[in-house]
Each structure stands twice: as structure tokens, then as C-alpha cells.
């Protein structure tokens, strides 16, 4: 079945450093979504990418969707302590959305 793999599993950064998480699917995706989950909280939608090669920015966050629509990345520039949490990618095929295992980001002030 469809699998969505995400790396790294954990990332420790110093505040102000950049951070990137990568997402790879075993199959071509219709779209990819990114969610953030704060510790003890629930996933919250960040963005959806639909087009091949699409790049979207939200302030310090940059999201990319690969040309083959099988991979994606989230890059955070100059991390802040408020960026702490787990970032999930989620690929949609048909009616189902398959989540990656997530990358947990730790930011040291």
C-alpha cells in the first residue's frame, strides 16, 4: 500500500538555525499537506501543495512539492522557540490521507 516516509525523526537546533524536514511517498500523490502538532496538542493544518514543482511560503516557512509529486520538504528559516513541535506531511490518494511519522523539532534558546 501507499507509504509516506519522513526524515529525520528528530532534529535539535539552536534558536536562529535553519531546519528542514523531508517527505517521500512510494507512489505519486494527488497533493501533499503539512501539519504541525504542538506537544500535547492536536495536528493543525499548515498548507496544501497540489501542483508539480510548487513552492509556497508562509513567513519563515517554505514548502516545496517535487516535480514527480512523490516528495516534499518543509524548510524553516531562523527557527524560534515557538516552532517547537512535530511536523507531519500527509499525502492524499483517493479518499484517504496517509500521514508520515513526523519530524519532532526541538529548539534550544
Amino acid at each position: 500500500g501507499q507509504q509516506v516516509m519522513q526524515i529525520p525523526q528528530y532534529q535539535h537546533v539552536q534558536e536562529g538555525e535553519d531546519f528542514t524536514t523531508y517527505c517521500n511517498s512510494s507512489t505519486t500523490l494527488s497533493n501533499i499537506q503539512w501539519y504541525k502538532q504542538r506537544p500535547g496538542g492536536h495536528p493543525v493544518f499548515l498548507i496544501q501543495l497540489v501542483k508539480s514543482g510548487e513552492v509556497k511560503k508562509q513567513k519563515r516557512l517554505t514548502f516545496q512539492f517535487g516535480e514527480a509529486k512523490k516528495n516534499s520538504s518543509l524548510h524553516i528559516t531562523a527557527t524560534q522557540t515557538t516552532d517547537v513541535g512535530t511536523y507531519f506531511c500527509a499525502g492524499t490518494g483517493g479518499f484517504k490521507t496517509i500521514f508520515g511519522a513526523g519530524t519532532r523539532l526541538f529548539v534550544k534558546a
Binding site: 500500500g1 519522513q6 494527488s30 497533493n31 499537506q33 501539519y35 496538542g41 492536536h42 495536528p43 493543525v44 493544518f45 496544501q48 497540489v50 507531519f88 500527509a90 492524499t92 479518499f95 484517504k96 490521507t97 496517509i98 500521514f99 508520515g100 511519522a101 513526523g102 519532532r104
Partner: protein, 113 residues
Amino acid sequence: NAGVTQTPKFRILKIGQSMTLQCAQDMNHNYMYWYRQDPGMGLKLIYYSVGAGITDKGEVPNGYNVSRSTTEDFPLRLELAAPSQTSVYFCASTTGTGYNEQFFGPGTRLTVL
């Protein structure tokens, strides 16, 4: 709008007991989902529904059942609870074709001892 609500917030079950996790949304969303999240892990889809009266299995449906008699409610039933079902359960909903953002409930933390 309350969004997606889940009850209870916490529950401890003994092995072999049964319970129903409640989920409701007031956004008139057609699509609803149940996920489980084990500690430090991602979300695994248990069951989903594309509308009232229609449900289907996700990745990990064994040991669970669902029903969707109304657009608003999507309860998850655990029969004969096992320690492997210790997890946090999230309900989510989305509108349209399912290719839109999912709105998650606050979760139910279940422990089976």
C-alpha cells in the same frame, strides 16, 4: 462553531472492556476520520467515512468499529479492549472531496491495563 469535539478526554479501561469514543463536528463536513497516534509516532488511519451511512476501513481497523448515522457524528467503538489499543485517538473532518485541510479534535487519551 465548536469545530470537532471529542469525548471523553481521558479514559482508563481494563482488558476486555468495551467503550465508545464520541466525535462530533458542526461544520457540515462530509468526510470524517479516526486516527490513532502511539507515543512518538505518526497518525494511523483506523476508519473513515465519506458521508452518512458510508464507512470504510483504514490502515489499522482491527479491534474497532464505526457507524455514521448522521453527518455530524462519527463514534468509534472498541470491543474487547487490549493493551495494544493504548493510544491517543484523534477524530478529524474535512469538506468537499476530501482534498482539503483536515480539522482535528482535541483527542482522547486511552489507556488499557
